[in-house]
């Protein structure tokens, strides 16, 4: 057995396991059933709790707002699978990046809605639940964004830092709010957060905005305006790499070093000694790590520290070198005593370009497979995952997507989404779907029709047959013979159609007339599904022909039913009895040959082994009927012979 990565946390089940009773459990598709057994270690026997507990790991699936996440991401997922293989890779990369952004915008939309609900919720526990979900989604979006920058977009040196700056800016949005607050106040320069805002903007590399805020100060103090002008020039001249421009990375590097020396010179000259804030800023510009570290409160996270540090020391950082700085930044920021959180470890693994570790840690930390399944699928499309065969044969992407889809299938409503996910798992998807789809509860016909359509589209004939049989059996139990028949026609289930026909015939024998004539009269080609059904249809047709007084046709039909052996043996007596009125007509309907055939049928019936269970009364009735028939047949024969022997003059 594998080693456990993380110690599992115990979960308390209320009202179970008291009085030292043992608990038994059983795995379900997405949850666990727990119950109290009768086994007790010690003490007298007493009645235990009769409850069965359903333990579910994933509560997110029941949240109505997160349902939107599942649905919208399902659309994006299906769209992603449809991207053609033969498109050149450069175009594909931009497509993948836009798909990644789509996913992220969906996450953000959900987050905003959850945030609104958290604020407006009246129930305290509900508000905190929403708050938890918001923070989880925030973390997810952070990780996803970083993966997009590092893996999907795979920016080279130069633009890598620009993307990382964007990433940090997106996730530290309070700077904008504070800057707005300061600028809109009456005297911005006197605002208490003024310098915090300026420094935060510098830390994020937003030089233009920092200059704009600084200019408010410069207008006040005329005497030190030269110092401010100097700072303004420094900030303005900071070179920023333009990936679409003609400047190469080395040219940029030269320019940047030039500027760096300029800043250093300012620092050595003590140009900004008069104003300690400006002194701090110039130290940051020079890339002094201790000064940057002092701004811990403004930075608030170690990855912000990392990016700022790189901005002012190594703007031309190459992706493989990233992880040295990441590790050291984290250590410097967090200090020796604070252990890193799971999120920090995941981000560090991302900086180290260890994709599998990222996925693994995310799987453990989150209680829902949504994030890892979709991210892994996208990375797999970018061909970034090496084929990593797991013990049970499928690759990582398929495993995660299958787990996610199986979780969806346990939901009473979201199972329809899961079908598409199974479709795109080439190795095991079909098997999973076959097993799961039969277990969906079918309350209405409409739901059954939808499930059947899913099965038929995928040629799952076993499942089609089984579902149709369930629906037909239910219809039969409710005496809806027409429905039952239409279900068995859909499944092409001859055996069931025979069963239904037997039921009809039974009804006929009991009541003397057919029920559901609208069905029987309009069977159409469905009649051919089973022999019994064909007989039923033809028998009904016989009755109709008789009702319309088309006797000769009716007679021919009746005879063919017996001679062609379509009619079941047990009903031959009934058929012959039906022939009786035809034989008794004034006109001769049955010809000589036909009468001979009828006679032979009757004899065949009588020479069959007698059922020993028949009572004397039954035997009497039988023999009376036979006598009547024999008499009628004989009379008819006589008349027919005479008629056929007569020459018409």
């Amino acid at each position: 057995m594998e080693e456990v990565d993380v110690e599992p946390s115990p979960m308390l089940i209320p009202s179970a396991g008291f009085h030292q009773r043992h608990l038994g459990f059983e795995w379900g598709p997405g949850d666990l059933l727990v119950y109290e057994t009768n086994y007790k270690l010690q003490g007298p026997r007493s009645a235990g709790s009769p409850l069965v507990h359903v333990v579910r790991k994933d509560e997110d699936i029941c949240s109505p707002i997160l349902r939107k996440l599942f649905n919208e991401s399902h659309l994006i997922f299906v769209g992603l699978q449809k991207i053609k293989e033969d498109v050149p890779s450069k175009n594909k990369k931009s497509q993948f990046v836009s798909i990644s952004k789509n996913y992220r915008s969906v996450i953000r939309a959900c987050m905003e809605e959850l945030q609104q609900n958290a604020v407006s919720a009246q129930d305290g526990s509900l508000a905190s639940q929403y708050g938890d979900q918001v923070s989880i989604l925030l973390a997810i979006e952070l990780i996803w964004n970083l993966c997009e920058v590092l893996f999907i977009d795979a920016a080279p040196a130069g633009s890598l830092l620009l993307h990382l700056l964007d990433w940090v800016r997106l996730h530290k949005s309070d700077v904008d709010a504070r800057a707005r607050e300061v600028l809109q106040s009456e005297s911005p320069a006197q605002h208490q957060s003024y310098w915090d805002v300026v420094i935060s903007l510098v830390l994020q590399g937003r030089m233009d905005e920092a200059r704009q805020v600084l200019s408010k100060q410069a207008s006040l103090r005329a005497e030190s305006s030269s110092v401010f002008k100097r700072m303004d020039v420094l900030l303005q001249t900071m070179p920023i790499f333009n990936p679409t421009g003609t400047q190469t990375l080395t040219e940029f590097d030269v320019k940047w070093r030039h500027w760096h020396e300029e800043c250093d010179r300012c620092l050595q000259d003590n140009t900004f000694a008069s104003n300690r804030h400006l002194e701090t800023i110039v130290k940051i510009l020079v890339g002094d790590e201790d000064t940057i570290l002092e701004q811990k409160e403004l930075l608030s996270t170690w990855y912000h520290f990392l990016v700022t540090r790189l901005l002012f020391t190594h703007p031309t950082i190459k992706p493989p070198d990233l992880h040295y700085y990441a590790q050291s930044s984290m250590n410097m920021f967090l200090g020796p005593r604070a252990p890193p959180e799971p999120l920090d470890i995941i981000l560090l693994s991302a900086f180290e370009f260890d994709l599998h570790q990222v996925i693994k840690d995310c799987s453990i930390a989150l209680n829902n497979w949504w994030f890892v399944a979709h991210l892994t699928d996208l990375l797999d499309h970018c061909k970034l995952l090496q084929s990593h065969n797991l013990h049970f044969g499928s690759n990582l992407r398929e495993f995660l997507v299958l787990e996610y889809a199986s979780g969806l299938f346990t939901h009473h409503s979201l199972w329809q989404l899961a079908v598409d996910y199974f479709d795109h798992c080439p190795e095991f998807g079909r098997v999973y779907l076959e097993l799961q789809i039969e277990r969906i509860p079918l309350d209405t016909e409409r739901k059954a029709i939808k499930v059947l359509r899913i099965c038929e589209d995928r040629q799952m004939s076993e499942q089609v047959r089984s579902i149709c049989k369930i629906m037909a059996k239910r219809a039969l139990r409710n005496n809806r013979l027409g429905s039952a028949l239409s279900w068995s026609i859909r499944a092409k289930d001859a055996a069931f159609a025979t069963l239904i026909s037997e039921r009809f015939l039974q009804d006929y024998c009991n009541k003397g007339s057919f029920t559901d004539l609208d069905l029987l009269d309009n069977l159409g080609p469905a009649m051919l599904l089973s022999d019994r059904l064909t007989f039923l249809g033809k028998y009904r047709e016989f009755h109709r022909l008789y009702g319309e007084n088309r006797f000769s046709e009716a007679a021919k039909l009746l005879l063919s039913l017996m001679t062609a052996k379509i009619a079941p043996r047990g009903l031959w007596m009934t058929l012959l009895t039906d022939a009786l009125p035809l034989l008794e007509q004034k006109e001769v309907i049955f010809s000589v040959d036909q009468t001979y055939e009828l006679m032979s049928c009757l004899e065949e019936l009588n020479t069959g082994t007698k059922d020993s269970n028949t009572t004397d009364q039954d035997e009497d009735i039988e023999s009376t009927k036979t006598e009547l028939l024999r008499l009628a047949l004989a009379r008819n024969l006589a008349m027919a012979i005479v008629k056929e022997g007569t020459i018409e003059t």
């Binding site: 349902r67 009473h412 409409r446 739901k447 029709i449 028949l485 239409s486 029920t515 559901d516 609208d518």
Partner: protein, 344 residues
């Protein structure tokens, strides 16, 4: 223009516009949506909001929820009424409740049909049902529509259309129509708004059939509309040259007959290549000017064009409703799509 989508966290089984008063040329703004397959289903009313404030003519407000209420079981059908009442156990089997599959109302009368094969007539203000046609059908009745004030038309799962006249005392249908050949279940039916003898049905195989109920036993034309069950078919109430269908295969089609100027030709030739024609005898003595373009089929003069209304393939579109220039539809992907500038 693309329709706006709104995800409402429940699979939608029916959407219906709240009817606008006939005289005012208003666009409908409020619609109702019913959910299905949830542990607790809801009927919710949504409003599209004020569109006067938009200066650039873009209607891109999302629908806002006005109110919703719980519903026992899946919401199978919605119709607008001014009174509210519950008729318990109207549809039932001998030991269980049976799903009621469709409801149609023409105030103050209501007709409902269900999986138990009953047709039940109610009056909106009476607690007792007015009339029950027991065993109207041996199979499930999927949809119903009013033909005239006292006549309804039902479609069932063995492919038959049955006309019922409530003035007659007997419990048997006045007329039965069906396709020869395979008995494909029919799921939806709609009557032409001006001409009561023209009826459109949609079935399990996605075929759209146009019938003339006065004549013959077979449909007038068969059109291969969709690749899966067609859930709803609607004639546009004010401009009946337009027809809308939605289906399990995730598409919503807008059909338009573009008839030529010469409407007096009554020749029943084939339509364009998309369509399989199954024409009956020519209608004799028909008033030329009243002939609907749905029945007259000269391929050079009358063509049928279909356009997809939804931007991409979604899960099944379960329901749609059109009123004036607005279309609303609901899907199994838990999204409601609203299109406010239909080209009708």
């Amino acid at each position: 223009m693309d329709p706006t989508a709104k995800y409402i966290s429940q699979k939608i089984s029916r959407t219906r516009w709240r009817p606008v008063p006939a005289g005012l040329l208003q666009q409908p703004e409020v619609f109702a949506a019913g959910s299905w397959d949830n542990e607790s289903n809801r009927v919710s009313i949504w409003s599209l909001g004020d569109n006067d404030s938009d200066t650039d003519g873009e209607f891109d407000e999302e629908p806002r929820l006005l109110c919703d209420s719980e519903h026992d079981g899946d919401v199978m059908d919605l119709q607008a009424l001014s009174l509210a009442h519950v008729w318990e156990r109207a549809h039932r089997y001998s030991c269980d409740n049976a799903p009621c599959t469709a409801v149609v109302c023409r105030s103050p009368e209501l007709v409902s049909v269900g999986e138990d094969g009953r047709v039940i007539l109610y009056k909106a203000d009476q607690t007792e049902v007015v009339r029950v046609i027991e065993n109207a059908d041996s199979s499930t009745i999927h949809a119903v529509t009013f033909l005239r004030t006292t006549e309804v038309l039902t479609v069932n799962s063995i492919g038959q259309l049955k006309m019922w006249d409530f003035r007659q005392q007997s419990d048997s249908p006045a007329q039965i129509l069906s396709l020869t050949g395979d008995r494909v279940p029919l799921h939806c039916v709609d009557k032409h708004p001006n001409q009561q003898h023209i009826v459109a049905t949609g079935g399990q195989d996605g075929m759209l059939c146009i019938w003339d109920v006065r004549q013959g036993n077979t449909p007038f034309s068969l059109i291969e509309a969709h690749s899966a069950e067609m859930w709803e078919v609607h004639f546009h109430p004010s401009n009946p040259n337009h027809l809308f269908t939605c289906s399990e295969d995730g598409s919503l089609l807008h059909w338009e007959t573009t008839s030529g100027s010469d409407m007096s030709t009554l020749l029943q030739r084939g339509w364009n290549s998309r369509v399989v024609s199954h024409s009956g005898v020519p209608l004799a003595g028909e008033d030329d000017s009243v002939v609907s373009s749905w029945l007259a089929g000269d391929s050079s003069k009358n063509r049928l064009e279909a356009t997809h209304m939804l931007p991409s393939q979604t899960l099944s579109v379960n329901s749609l409703d059109v009123l004036e220039q607005c279309l609303v539809c609901g899907t199994d992907g838990e999204a409601v799509y609203v299109h406010r500038q239909l080209p009708v």
